[in-house]
């Protein structure tokens, strides 16, 4: 499998701030790769390093086997969909989309056709004569996408592209982006702070914190087996069991994660682990009830099916879960 983007021990410092700190990654050709993290975690700087807007302080970057350091953005076969879309306000939609072809010196008729095809692909046919100011946020986002894709980039970089859209539009765009990526086969690198977005769209997810990758893996891996406390906390809301509780359950780890939906409020069946405590609080979430159980001072959240009913607050309960759902974590 060809490597699309390679980061070998890449760092980017801004003065004393380590925005990106010794990051290693390998993104495969045709992959949908998400970089997930809170703001200031270095994910956007990584994207800008790929686009060429930043140069690494240390380490080595390759894009399709070619060294990227010192190569300006306009000589990289990489295009970006910007967070604020960055459409040119003085140009029509068609001219915006055709901009990349225009500066490459492609003929007027050819680039008009290519731009119209790209607009049709993002479901905005016939919008070419309008100005960016006349479009809604969702439409501008599609134009930004068309403007990048018309250049047939080897890698498409997306910087929080859905951040400014409302929930419904967002879900629709997630599906469209995913199917667009599948049909085009282009490598997508996607930056987001929304864990649901990263998990639902990406083939692999890199979770960033403080300039470093905390965990890199498939959405299932990252969600079910968080490697560090940060990942357990940021991706979903895993319970983090302390060393005391781990020892009690016969686990030799300083921390372990346990997902709320892996726990049942029921006596243990064969081979299951169990803990006992009292109900501390409960809230109705629709399909499930979120019940928090106090186990020797530690709080463990349980996602219990709504149909089950919930024991009253203060009543003693037994929790059970399969040993395979308890995941030891690094001490971080």
């Amino acid at each position: 499998m060809t490597t699309a983007v390679l980061f070998d021990n890449v760092s980017r410092y801004f003065g004393a701030v380590r925005a990106v700190d010794r990051v290693n990654l390998k993104i495969a050709e045709g992959e949908f790769f998400a970089m997930l993290g809170p703001s200031g975690s270095g994910k956007t700087t990584c994207l800008r390093l790929m686009a060429g807007f930043e140069q690494p302080t240390g380490g080595h970057i390759e894009i399709f086997g070619e060294t990227a350091e010192g190569v300006p953005p306009y000589r990289r076969s990489v295009n970006t969909v910007f967070q604020d879309y960055a459409l040119f306000p003085h140009l029509s939609i068609l001219e915006n989309v055709a901009y990349g072809l225009m500066v490459k010196g492609i003929g007027r008729e050819e680039r008009r056709k290519a731009a119209e095809d790209a607009l049709a692909m993002v479901k905005l046919p016939g919008y070419g004569t309008r100005r960016p100011g006349q479009l809604s946020g969702g439409q501008r986002q599609r134009v930004a996408l068309a403007r990048a894709l018309v250049n047939k980039p080897k890698v498409l970089l997306l910087d929080e592209p859905l951040g400014a859209l409302d929930l419904k539009l967002r879900e629709q765009m997630q599906e469209e982006l995913k199917s667009l990526q599948r049909s085009l086969g282009i490598t997508f690198v996607f930056v987001t702070h929304d864990q649901g977005e990263a998990l639902s769209m990406a083939d692999r997810v890199a979770v960033f914190n403080e300039g470093r990758i905390q965990q890199l893996g498939s959405p299932e891996e990252v969600y079910n087996r968080p490697k560090t406390r940060f990942v357990a906390d940021f991706v979903g809301s895993s319970n983090v069991l302390s060393a005391d509780l781990c020892r009690k359950l016969g686990l030799k780890a300083s921390f372990a994660s346990l997902r709320p939906e892996a726990v049942a409020i029921a006596p243990p069946s064969d081979g299951a682990l169990s803990l006992s405590g009292t109900v501390a609080s409960q809230s109705f979430l629709g399909a499930t009830n979120r019940v928090v159980i106090d186990v020797e001072g530690a709080r463990i959240a349980v996602a219990s099916p709504a149909a089950r009913g919930v024991p009253p607050i203060g009543s003693p309960v037994t929790l059970s879960f399969a040993p395979s759902d308890l995941h030891p974590m690094e001490d971080a």
Binding site: P73, Y74, F82, A86
Partner: protein, 271 residues
């Protein structure tokens, strides 16, 4: 709640405004009036008679034409130089961060805050020290010092409104620095440059002080007018030329005002 009457200006204020306006503009009207007088030696009021013969006389005077051509040439070249240098300065100050950026920004604006006489003396002594003979080009240099400021101020205000990601988007789509300037920056700052250029032209066209210090034997139009007032000969010709100057400088300033009134102040218009 205020009544409609309370929102109207009281009579006293109206009179004060009228007097103020008259104080500013009546002298200009007098200049226009004396362009038509039949008396050529002195300005007596009221004019003994009215004539349009001075327009023909002015048209036939070679010294008027020489001064006018020189002024137009100086203003055009100083403005062109200011457009290039002022835009580059504005781009550097607004698009990049570097040590001493605020200081540079202040130093660029300083020539317009300094009295013209200081700029004039400074340039004159600098030219003498460097053994540069006073010529057409020394006048252009002198004018360029304040023309740059006007262009810079207009360009920098517009540059601030261009989001940095527009330039990045252009580079990302394959445009090099020159193409980005040509296709993205220039269309966005174009009207600001036009306005700045018009103002710079108008400023240069009627400049007296700096010109006095930096000119050799040549006379620009304002200097020529000053000399004419001292030795009276066909006096109303000066008034005819003054009318031309008013029109030539007023139209660009009006144009600049309309081009930039949506948001940008025409900084430096007051020199």
């Amino acid at each position: 709640m205020r009544s409609e009457k309370a929102n109207r200006a009281p009579l006293g204020l109206k009179i004060a405004a009228a007097v103020g306006l008259a104080f500013m503009h009546l002298p200009i009207l007098l200049i226009f009036l004396y362009a038509f007088t039949t008396e050529e030696k002195s300005y007596q009021f009221p004019p003994p008679g009215l004539t349009t013969q001075w327009f023909a006389v002015a048209w036939d005077r070679p010294d008027v034409w020489a001064a006018l051509t020189l002024s137009v040439k100086v203003a055009a070249i100083a403005t062109a130089a200011a457009l290039v240098l002022g835009t580059l300065c504005a781009a550097a100050v607004s698009q990049t961060r570097f040590f001493g950026r605020e200081t540079v920004s202040l130093l660029v604006i300083l020539p317009i805050a300094l009295p013209g006489i200081i700029t004039g003396i400074a340039l004159r002594s600098a030219f003498s020290m460097a053994d540069i003979p006073f010529s057409f080009w020394t006048i252009v240099l002198g004018h360029a010092t304040f023309c740059i400021v006007v262009v810079y101020n207009n360009a920098v205000a517009r540059f601030r409104r261009i989001s940095g990601s527009l330039i990045e988007a252009s580079m990302d789509l394959g445009a090099d620095g020159f193409q980005t300037f040509r296709y993205v920056i220039l269309p966005n700052i174009g009207t600001a440059l036009l306005a700045g250029g018009m103002l710079a032209f108008a400023l240069s066209f009627d400049e007296v002080i700096v010109t006095t210090f930096t000119a050799g034997q040549q006379s620009t139009l304002p200097i020529w007018m000053l000399e004419e007032l001292i030795r009276p000969r066909q006096r109303p010709v000066t008034n005819v030329v003054a009318m031309v100057v008013v029109i030539v400088t007023f139209l660009p300033i009006l144009g600049a005002y309309y081009l930039t009134r949506d948001g940008d102040q025409i900084a430096g218009a007051g020199k």
